[in-house]
Amino acid sequence: MITPFFSAVSVVVMRELIKFVRERGKLLSMIARPLLWLFLVGSGMTRMVSSDMGMPYIQFIFPGIVGMTVLFSSIFSSISIIWDKEFGFMKEMLVAPVPRSAIVVGKALSGTAVSTVQALIILLVHPFIGLDLSLGQAVGILLLSALLAFCLSSLGILIATFYESFESFSVIMNFIVMPMFFLSGAMYPVRLLPDAVAMLSKLNPLTYGVDALKHLSFRQPHTTVFDFTLMLDLSVLVICSFVFVIIGALAFERRK
């Protein structure tokens, strides 16, 4: 049982990575979105928002932009399951003598790898916004991005199992991904949100990811910018990862 599982996981991961390396155009467009948000929205808002948070707005949103990068690339990566269903390759996997949960774990791991690479690219622009990160902080941010990516990729797979065709793509974008981003505290602290909206924020796993990224990005204890403790953030992410990947695997094992 162990060998078929891991060989299938490695097939899924290798396939995704080969495609990721080949489709450089796609990588560029994936990287463009967070950069546009960071530099256009960030620099515009810096002039407007009073900086009583102890830092310019463009620096405040940096962890949120890393979170955004991970969110989009993880969800996109796992939603490729829907493309696979639509364009047939999934059937090749489903009739192979391998446990189906291997497909889920493989997709989650490849989503993690792809997202972490993109988070690294975004991380490299931090000097341009005047943010000073130590090597330790950078490594911490990357590791955290990987954890967040695994959590969100698993969530993406879970979402993808409920959809059969590509038409659902815009539904997922507009009703799941964008609200998750806006509710995450990436652009404004969750504390400032009205109670009802703040409630929704607390149900959003990305909120904890962004908060943890803030803890790692800002060295001095800026008590005003954090919403939760780092310990709580990490616990929520780890628990969500397990729950999502297990439910995703179970949903996938269930016979049609």
Partner: protein, 329 residues
Amino acid sequence: MAIISVENLSRAFARTKAVDTVSFSVDAESIFGFLGPNGAGKTTTINILCTLLAPTEGRASIDGQDCVHDAASVRERIGIVFQDNTLDKELSAYENLWFHAKLYRVPRDERKIRVEEALVFAGLIDRRNDPVKRFSGGMKRRLEVARAIVHQPKVLFLDEPTIGLDPQSRSSLWEFIGQLPKTRGVTIFMTTHYLDEAEICDRIAIIDHGRIIAEGTPDELKKLVGGDVIYLKTTNNTAAIQMLHDSLELHAEEREAEIFISTSRGDACIPKLIGALADSVVSVRLQRPTLNDVFLKLTGRAMREEPVSGSDTVREAVRSYRKRFERGK
């Protein structure tokens, strides 16, 4: 010896029974054809045999392994070419086969040899590093068949393998598939709604509305329709008809300047005709009943190609849109 055996298999979707108490068995190293119009239950049966779908009733087994309870061992023993293409078009031919070999746990040291051998077999070794999206329809199909045999399955399922191919690719694909039972010891289970393609099968089951309505060798099925038809041209048709009636006791009649004779064994009858009529024969034509005649006789409907379904058109549109989008980038 039967390698596939199916007993009273049924599968219902909502209110309709897609497969209705179907039983048959397939001998090892033979070609078995499942023939019927679209929506007759062919793909549902294949999906059950491939462990993708659980039957509502009855049982199916492959090489002694139950398709429901021993799904994993069934999967190891079969190779499948689905109706829709399931290759990864972004990957090369070699990569598609290599991943397949790894999924089916072909030992590492054998993997490269087997993949290359399959590519040679499919006549695609020179294109092994090209991405599959640059392949023609016929090449993709050959590659899919090659992929399905990389792990040396005992049974190969082909679901409408030639759908959407031009006549030339179709015949070259059949030539390629037809040699598999002998050269590889593979049993082939195929579905088709092209009647002429079913001729290559050792045995055929005709399925309509989820039920098997006839089963046998192509020749046996054709005998259900009745005899062969011989068309004869002579220098003097009236005299010839009289002569056939007198000396061979055959009933013959003239139709559009040809003599029309219906007989149970046309091939054996022709020498007698020529012997009796000697030099007056200008031409002889033997027409055997086709499987279409069989289907017509059994169901009262002709089996013809049906228009492409709505979802296929949508899918095709998306594919071409994606292609354009990818090129445009």
